[in-house]
């Protein structure tokens, strides 16, 4: 294992410390227990947005703390959801009196820890709502799974709900639009090579030179199946088809599309994927109204990409365009 780290157990703390120094104009890092808030938190009268989860997905979540997006991010150990004793003070720190929305990716650990934290924050008199992101079409949402995973769609939920909170929507309204995004967003990922969790020290899985994993998540876990290596256009089709099917996208639909790198994929390759997505959606008569291409929700240095598509309406597009000023996403501010 070769990484630019010191001690595997210090990775999260040291990285967040560096992040806090680099973005001192935007955020405050609270070290013990660890969480990150926007510098001006709590914003009085504004619904607070808290997200979090295991580390290793940077820039998610800390990179999305700031105006028009999250009020707080709560990082756990690498690929391990944070604990209630982090989530509770983060929730309290961003409650400006209008309540707090927890944006939770659908993993057993995240759900249980946020659930506990929400209960205890409520007991402290804070109104807390939760929205569960479960956009990964690689996983069936059935009795035989823990439900679909939350992956790339999280970024879109955080942006759009963040904009709604910023314009002054109340807790119910922010929760409702967040849920609307969850309902309309789907993702699918592919890995060309695994990542190595620092404390594990060996790659999460082994792939032969001519194999790829389709339907991977963001935790270095193996995907749904392994196939022979293909060209980017073929792989893109494999990512797109199940999303189009699941969302029943048809001619005239408008979308926000994210082609996301898993951490070890050059931007040039992501644009090759985006090119094909644009072609294929164009063939279907589906328009791409906004897009993101880059590393937004990663799995350490994994080589691969994920595709996220949101069926967007006017309100979502307006909220998308509203000013956002975070370390990793910024426009209009």
């Amino acid at each position: 294992m070769k990484k630019l780290i010191n001690d595997p157990r210090a990775v999260v703390n040291e990285s967040v410390e560096g992040f806090g120094i680099a973005h001192a104009d935007l955020v405050i890092v609270h070290p013990e227990p660890l969480f990150i808030t926007r510098r001006d938190a709590p914003v009085q009268g504004k619904v607070g947005l808290v997200s979090g989860g295991g580390s290793g997905h940077e820039p998610l979540h800390a990179g999305f703390v700031g105006r028009g997006m999250l009020d707080a991010a709560v990082p756990g150990a690498v690929f391990t959801s944070p604990t209630p004793d982090q989530i509770i003070p983060a929730t309290a720190a961003v409650d400006g009196g209008a309540g707090v929305l927890h944006i939770v990716k659908n993993y057993t650990g995240d759900v249980l820890n946020f659930e506990t934290a929400a209960e205890m924050a409520e007991a402290d008199g804070i109104s807390v709502r939760s929205v569960l992101v479960n956009d990964d079409v690689a996983v069936e949402d059935s009795l035989y799974t823990a439900g679909r995973r939350g992956v790339g769609g999280t970024v879109l939920v955080e942006r759009i709900a963040g904009a709604a909170a910023e314009r002054g929507d109340d807790l119910d309204a922010v929760t409702a639009i967040a849920q609307r995004v969850v309902d309309g967003v789907r993702s699918m990922g592919v890995a060309l090579a695994a990542c190595t969790v620092p404390h594990a020290g060996v790659p999460s899985f082994e792939l032969a030179e001519d194999e790829i994993e389709i339907g991977i998540g963001i935790h270095g876990e193996p995907g749904r199946h392994r196939i022979a290596m293909e060209g980017a256009d073929g792989i893109t089709q494999r990512l797109l088809d199940p999303i189009v099917a699941d969302l029943s996208l048809t001619s005239g639909d408008r979308t926000i599309v994210m082609v996301n790198g898993m951490g070890g994929t050059p931007a040039s390759e992501l644009y090759i994927v985006f090119r094909k997505v644009a072609q294929l959606l164009g063939d279907l008569g589906v328009s791409i109204d906004r897009s993101l291409v880059g590393n937004y929700i990663t799995a350490l240095e994994m080589q691969g990409a994920s595709l996220t598509i949101l069926r967007a309406d006017d309100e979502m597009l307006d909220l998308w365009d509203a000013p956002v000023h975070t370390a990793a996403l910024r426009w209009g501010a």
Binding site: A77, S81, P82, T83, L112, N113, T145, G220, R224
Partner: protein, 220 residues
Amino acid sequence: MSVADATGPLDAAWAVRWMRGTAQVVSENRALLIDLDRAIGDADHGENLDRGFGAVLLKLDGDAPETPAAVLKLVAMTLMSTVGGAAGPLYGTAFLRAATSLGDTGVVDPSGVAGMIAAARDGIVARGKAEVGDKTMVDAWTPASEAAETAAQAGATAPEVLAAAANAAHAGAVATEPLIARKGRASYLGERSAGHQDPGAVSTALILQAAAEAAGGEVA
């Protein structure tokens, strides 16, 4: 004195020995648990528990609770705030319910042991909604609870009840190998989850083994 040799009544000191023994066995099996989780999960179970029980050790150094329940409650709170992931809340709940089941008793008797394990198991099921056969730690806790109940009713000593539970948990963990996971992140793998033991079931067996050893029980 090695922890495995310790005997005595199931008092607060036993509970402390149990937890020190767990910290040691988890640390020794950290790599194994990571590896099991790497195969069907996200490679953190051993690291998470090692961090959690390491924190438990520090807490026990600073604090000396006077009843078994007080020890287990301290453990529950510590795991809850240091482990994270699925295992943190699940084990946290398990130890909390176990503590509650013991009340303020100073020495746990055989049926108390069985009740404690059943409470832990029920707590995990209440939080995680897993059933037997879903390839989770429930597949270790459930046979452990049943074996403890049977042993207690058959008149076994408290250490013997713990040993029966530990052995059953171990067998339950081994039996998860062929299963297809239906809860937790292993479920995302579908059929590819078969062929590996569930890390949480294995760590459950380790924890119960430490309980029995701390009580001087014979674990096969």
